[in-house]
């Protein structure tokens, strides 16, 4: 019966367990081998070092597999194989190279579930993301560049494209298979051969991908995948055969690579860290902005170089946004990444978890106000609850350093100029977000923000046709689009 009186004068919404979802673990088998050797010249080869490292699943801290550690001699063998394969591969008609890339893309689609489960077990990201984002996007990059392979003559009007030679590539642990696709697809489309090293903690999908190259019939030596830690990576980027080095990872390592390559005449592209500003104006569609803020920072546990880790909110709506944001965070599901209903999964490694904890502690020490999701985390494995810091100022570490975790720092501004000033006041310049109902403001800000990507009323959107890359300490060079393609070719 309808009555005039409020039934719940306390105005509390209850997100309880009246209707709790039952566990829904993804059941496809990931087919992970107990041990992975190096993939050199089309064959799986034991490392000359005879050493292996344990690959740990962040989901429950269990050992998944053993990964070979390549030493300098292994890296040399990989470069020799790539150099030997180069003349034939680069001389193939573009349409022929395209055939292989199409085949790889289709194989990835066929085995998407298996690869998605492996990616989630290895890296800790929710199965929903590996299934709905990483795998489809990785396949899309191969499809896109397969299409370019026979159209290189039209990529630069009046010029033609020639391959560079052997390319050395080192990729990070946040999107292991997707970053592999971003790096390999344009390099192969242009006729280069490759030595690629996946990240130490996330090599499994790269090695599964190596096996898939065999099924695609790719000629031996065109792609060589070698694994290991920092020393192996150093050997890959400094090898004299490399005509170009492409690196995605931390700014510190990127700078070291640039120093090592100075004067060698080798090409270099770097895609490094970020501390992106996500700017919300008072006329923004607030509920969608809050959804976008959540997606910007908690996507992949915040292990995203373009994560919207600094929220800049116009002062007049700061309280409203904070209230809505806390409400939204109350029904984020944090936990087992293999469960199909999990929104935020496991932190990639113990080392990363410790770094996040240390930076959160610095935020507390410097007087910022903390809010965390009331989530009960699994006892085993590496987990960190989604976290907000309000009352953050530009001078605090949590406003300046890349945390690379599910931690959002909230700052306020009063005018558009102040928003731009604060957004640009950072060492980084990879991405930014603008939320407003006013179209002209979007256009103005997108030219004033010093960031490689500016998203308007959305965040974390990617497409193979759209170039991605940064300003300042976020690196140089672009990936994706025509611009990304040209990074792997010389104009003649």
């Amino acid at each position: 019966m309808a009555s005039k009186k409020p039934a719940n004068p306390a105005r509390e919404l209850l997100f309880g367990d009246l209707w709790e979802f039952d566990p829904a673990p993804e059941s496809a088998s990931p087919h992970i081998a107990p041990r992975y050797d190096l993939f050199i010249n089309g064959k799986f080869t034991p490392p000359r070092s005879k050493k292996y490292l344990a690959s740990i699943s962040p989901r429950d801290a269990s050992k998944l597999s053993e990964i070979a550690i390549a030493n300098a001699a292994d890296v040399d063998a990989a470069y020799k194989a790539a150099a030997a394969a180069f003349p034939k591969w680069s001389a193939l008609p573009g349409a022929e190279r395209g055939k292989y890339l199409f085949r790889i893309a289709r194989l990835l689609q066929d085995r998407a579930r298996e690869f998605a489960v492996a990616e989630t077990l290895d890296g800790g990201k929710p199965i929903r993301e590996s299934r709905d984002f990483d795998l489809p996007m990785a396949a899309a990059h191969f499809f896109h560049h397969a299409g370019w392979a026979d159209k290189l003559a039209y990529a630069a009007p009046g010029r033609s494209l020639a391959p560079l030679g052997v390319v050395g590539q080192v990729i990070p642990w946040n999107f292991p298979l997707l970053m592999l696709a971003w790096k390999l697809a344009p390099a192969l489309a242009c006729g280069n051969t490759v030595v690629l090293k996946p990240a130490e903690t996330t090599s499994i999908t790269a090695m599964k991908f190596a096996a898939l190259l065999g099924e695609a019939g790719l000629p031996p030596g065109v792609v060589n995948i070698i694994t290991g830690g920092g020393d192996t990576g150093h050997a890959v980027v400094t090898h004299p055969t490399a005509a170009k080095v492409a690196f995605t990872g931390s700014t510190a390592v990127g700078k070291a690579i640039q120093r090592a390559l100075a004067g060698t005449g080798k090409r270099l592209t770097l895609e490094l860290g970020g501390k992106a500003a996500n700017i919300v104006f008072e006329d923004a569609p607030l509920d969608q902005a809050v959804e976008g803020i959540v997606n910007a920072i908690f996507f992949n546990q915040g292990h995203v170089c373009c994560a919207g880790s600094r929220l800049l909110v116009q002062e007049s709506i700061a309280d409203d946004v904070l209230r809505k944001l806390k409400l939204r965070m109350r029904h984020l599901r944090v936990g087992d990444p293999l469960d199909k209903n999990t929104d935020v999964g496991a932190i990639n490694s113990m080392a990363q978890l410790e770094r996040i904890r240390a930076l959160v502690q610095s935020g507390l020490d410097e007087g910022a106000e903390l809010y965390q999701c009331p989530a009960s985390l699994p006892s085993k494995g590496f987990y960190f609850p989604p976290t907000l810091f309000s009352n953050v100022t530009m001078s605090q570490r949590i406003a300046r350093e890349e945390i690379f975790g599910p931690v959002l720092s909230i700052l306020t501004f009063r005018t558009p100029d102040e928003a731009v000033e604060k957004a640009n006041n950072t060492d980084y310049g990879l991405s930014a977000g603008v939320w407003t109902d006013k179209g002209s403001r979007i256009l103005k800000l997108s030219s004033e923000l010093r960031a490689g990507v500016v998203w308007a009323n959305t965040y974390n959107k990617f497409d193979p046709t759209s170039p991605f890359g940064g300003y300042k300490h976020s690196g140089f060079g672009r990936e994706g689009g025509r611009q990304g393609l040209l990074e792997y070719a010389q104009l003649v």
Binding site: A2, N8, F21, D22, A24, T458
Partner: protein, 311 residues
Amino acid sequence: MPPRSTASLRALILEAGPVDQVGIEERVQKYATRSIKKNSKVFALKLAVSMLDLTTLEGKDTPGKVASLCRKAQRPHHTPDIPHTAAVCVYSALVRHARRALGKSPVRIASVATAFPSGQTPLATRLAEVRAAVADGADEIDMVINRGAFLAGEIALVQDEIAAVREACGQATLKVILETSELETYDNIRAASFLAMRVLRNGDFIKTSTGKTSSNATLANNQVMLDAIRDHFLATGIEIAMKPAGGIRTAKQALTFLVAVKETLGDAWLTPARYRFGASALLNDLLRQLEKERTGHYQAPYSFSEASGSY
């Protein structure tokens, strides 16, 4: 200078805040990725049955058809633990037949009134219809708003009419149909939700559609209205209920709508007093899925009556 009335519609939209079309449509797609298995599925299927306004709104409705609908509403299936539906929903002229069929049953009688579905009759006629339906035994009145007046910018008139219908309802629960497909934009749907809620009582409903236009309840306009209900509740403490109607035919769709409720308004709205489905074909799909969960097998299609006409 625009006429004053348009300015007030714009003021209402500004005050309620805009809705981003791309953003909200992307948001609701995530609800469909929730995986609902085993006990949580059975719970939700039964909850959906108990939230149904089992509806027949056809020119060819007869007292006999209404009586058979009422029997189905009271006992949807022969298995014992299936709940009765929340209500039956009929035209106002058939309310007395429904009352006779239901007697003192807990199944409530909802009547569409106010010249459903267009609402294009004089206010006095619409109010008289509401009073007649309530006098015949309707527990709930589903009214349509004056979309013509809303789009012409006469929002005070729209609100006054809703208030007048609410008075005519007396103790009966009021459901205000916005007819989202005729308001067209999400901005309008959100603004109209606030316009209605500000003159509604605790427990009254806002409802998406009549089911008589080309597009009916969608996850996105359901979400716009749930967001508005949440904001209104947090500002006033008044709990407005929600009813999507039309176009929800499968159990899977219904579960996705319930996920939206769970993750927007929380547990207090997961009850027939706060959330309803206006549907007819949905009931049999819910029953089919419940039988599948109970027996482990899908029953042959002919073991459930497909068309709402054959209840």
